[in-house]
């Protein structure tokens, strides 16, 4: 009985076949095809010609790409800590069972289900010059209005605000779920141990949800490196490319200038950057665990 249970049969593979087909068709194949494309000269008229690493050399020497990488790194470096920090703050604040807090949880999460077009539309209304909400507020306060979407620096900032607003739901929910896993009697023991609010937060709550904080950070790093829609619709990368992220560079290269090989090479580079960033984050967190 145990023997027949253990013996593997090829027919068993049928059970995983549907998944494997989808996995190979939609993930593995495109991954390798993309790698292959990045080694070829491919344009609108098709017809690949193997050119080795030349696409990579072109991308790496392109100042526009450098700028896009810089923009994206700055964007990730600011937006991810904001998302994690704000998400944690909201989760801590809403970790109650009152009706008000359930309503607010729903409210904060609701932005996540909107499509990027609606999100950007909303934030364009806020940031747009002359008639935008910010412009109105600045007017009322008698301040010089800022062209949020058309000033260097402010444009990327505006995209960041819209992104945080759009993406805050998931970190908040994940952290909230983690908070609710903490047994209540730990807090009771801490109360009997005279622990103040700050000590409870730093010695009990945060250590308990640390794995989730790390998970949220890695998810957000991976997601925010792929910034695209908000930047495209809100600022179109402007002014002077100061809010152009890497994905937009890839898009312009591959689908506007139809230099598909070069776009694929840039994609592979982005893939490596994301991988390194996520691994670095993971390494940092696991190294502290040992100490």
């Amino acid at each position: 009985m145990a023997e027949s249970y253990r013996r593997s049969r090829w027919s068993n593979a049928l059970f995983v076949a549907p998944y494997l087909v989808v996995f190979f068709a939609l993930l593995v194949f495109p991954l390798f095809w993309g790698m292959w494309l990045s080694l070829n000269k491919v344009d609108l008229f098709g017809g690949g010609q193997f050119i080795g690493l030349r696409n990579y050399a072109r991308v790496l020497s392109d100042p526009v790409f450098h700028q896009a990488v810089r923009n994206t790194v700055v964007f990730v470096a600011v937006s991810v800590p904001t998302l994690v920090g704000l998400g944690l703050f909201l989760a801590l604040a809403l970790n109650k069972t009152t009706r008000g807090s359930s309503f607010l949880r729903g409210l904060y999460f609701s932005s996540s289900i909107l499509s990027v077009t609606i999100v950007t539309l909303i934030w364009r209304i806020v940031f747009i010059p002359n008639d935008g909400l910010m412009a109105l507020i600045f007017n009322v306060l008698g301040l010089e209005p800022i062209g949020f979407l058309s000033t260097k620096g402010w444009s990327l900032f505006s995209v960041g605000v819209a992104t945080v607003w759009w993406c805050i739901g998931l970190p908040m929910m994940l952290l909230l779920a983690a908070l609710q896993q903490i047994p209540a009697d730990l807090y009771e023991a801490a109360a009997l141990d005279n622990a103040g609010k700050w000590r409870v937060l730093t010695r009990i709550t945060l250590p308990s949800i640390k794995p989730t904080i790390m998970l949220v950070a890695v998810i957000q790093i991976v997601m925010q490196f792929q910034l695209f829609g908000q930047a495209l619709i809100m600022t179109n990368g402007g002014p002077a490319g100061s809010s152009r992220p890497i994905v937009m560079y890839i898009y312009e290269t591959a689908f506007i200038r139809w230099d598909v090989g070069m776009g694929a090479a840039a994609s592979e580079l982005l893939f490596v950057i994301i991988l390194c960033a996520a691994m670095f984050q993971y390494w940092i967190s696991s190294r502290k665990e040992v100490a």
């Binding site: 730990l186 009771e188 801490a190 109360a191 009997l192 141990d193 622990a195 000590r199 009990i204 308990s208």
Partner: protein, 366 residues
């Protein structure tokens, strides 16, 4: 280090549900008090109110003469051991034990000294650098006790601390707790629904039931002179057997009872004028009844099950009228299921309960 606890007119409600009503209880310094009662009777709730983890809806609690029910849990001078231990999973054993003292800004070397000495007392000194996840259940339990000891509280509160241990370890830990109590001399309150724990550990048992204190007293007093029918049937294993009383006449010494299934029995007991006769019953414990030799006149019991415990045996059966009955016999008992045996008992070992469940016992023991 030990202080008296004064619980006065404590009431607790959860919405419309009243869990405890007008509980008044005085606990002497250094006394070991056990709260015993059926599940859901509010033992934990009462303990948690003393600890400050549950709000009080009425009445006051004082410790060492100082009113504590208005203080936050940490300021009450009590330490609690939770059923689930509630150890901080990210701290080592030493940090777990020292956390409370750290919060009080106790000097580091003082913390280390107290943690070390508590750890030695509990024989967990070699575990101080481990995290709770890497401890066995029994070791965790010791750490939880250690965490309470280092605080040098005026009173210890235990909420079923032994219920997660296996039987052997539970027995051993029970003994150690008794020793710990002797050594520390601290006031301790212990919640359990295990009678053996209650009987062996307590200086005094408080039986809670249906929002009230049903009875409090020394373990043997509770066992031998239960105040109510509830206590009589709740304490003792196997449970006391009850036989309905159908009639009652005064006798020269005490009363003569008409006991259903057992005939007329004369008992030396003084019953008050207010004794409610309808619904009255008598109760007898298994060890107070004995199997009579063949041929001797007694009460016939049809044997259903014989439970052999080695040193003794419990014989479960029914009387002629179907009432269930348990009698203890020696370990060498030859009684088998299906037999009909004759049993007898000393009438004065009977407990008499009136229609309201109040208990009366043989006069001499009074």
């Amino acid at each position: 280090m030990s202080a008296p606890i004064e619980i006065a007119n404590i009431t607790k409600r959860y919405g419309a549900l009243t869990v405890l009503e007008d509980i008044t209880l005085h606990i002497e310094p250094g006394e070991f008090v056990v709260f015993l009662g059926p599940s859901g009777c509010g033992k934990s709730t009462l303990l948690r109110m003393i600890a400050g983890l549950e709000a009080v809806d009425g009445g006051t609690i004082s410790l060492g003469g100082e009113r504590i029910d208005t203080l936050p849990p940490g300021k009450r001078g009590v330490a609690m051991v939770f059923q689930s231990y509630a150890l901080y999973p990210h701290m080592t054993v030493a940090q777990n034990m020292g956390f409370g003292l750290e919060n009080l800004k106790t000097p580091k070397n003082e913390i280390a000294r107290r943690v070390q000495s508590a750890a030695e007392t509990l024989e967990i000194a070699h575990l101080l650098d481990r995290k709770p996840a890497k401890l066995s259940g029994g070791q965790r339990q010791r750490v939880a006790i250690g965490r309470a000891i280092v605080k040098e509280p005026q009173a210890f509160l235990f909420d079923e601390p032994l219920s997660n241990l296996d039987a052997a370890l539970r027995g051993r830990t029970r003994l150690e707790l008794a020793q710990l109590h002797q050594r520390l001399g601290a006031t301790m309150i212990f919640v359990t629904h295990d009678q053996v724990e209650a009987m062996t550990l307590a200086d005094r048992i408080v039986i809670l039931n249906d929002r009230r204190i049903e009875q409090m007293g020394a373990p043997m007093e509770i066992y031998q002179r239960p105040a109510t029918k509830f206590v009589a049937q709740f304490v003792g294993s196997p449970a006391m057997c009850f036989l309905p009383v159908t009639g009652m006449t005064d006798a020269a010494q005490g009363v003569t009872l008409d006991v259903e299934g057992a005939g007329k029995i004369e008992i030396d007991v003084r019953l008050p004028a207010g004794f409610r006769r309808d619904g009255a019953s008598v109760g007898i414990r298994a060890e107070d009844a004995k199997v009579l030799d063949r041929g001797q006149p007694g009460i016939a019991v049809g044997v259903k099950v014989v439970e052999r415990l080695g040193d003794r045996a419990f014989i479960y059966g029914t009387l002629d009228n179907g009432t269930e009955f348990v009698v203890e016999d020696s370990g060498r008992s030859t009684v088998a299921s299906g037999d009909v045996i004759q049993i007898g008992f000393d009438p004065n070992a009977l407990h008499i309960f009136d229609g309201d469940g109040r208990a009366y016992h043989h006069s001499e023991e009074a």
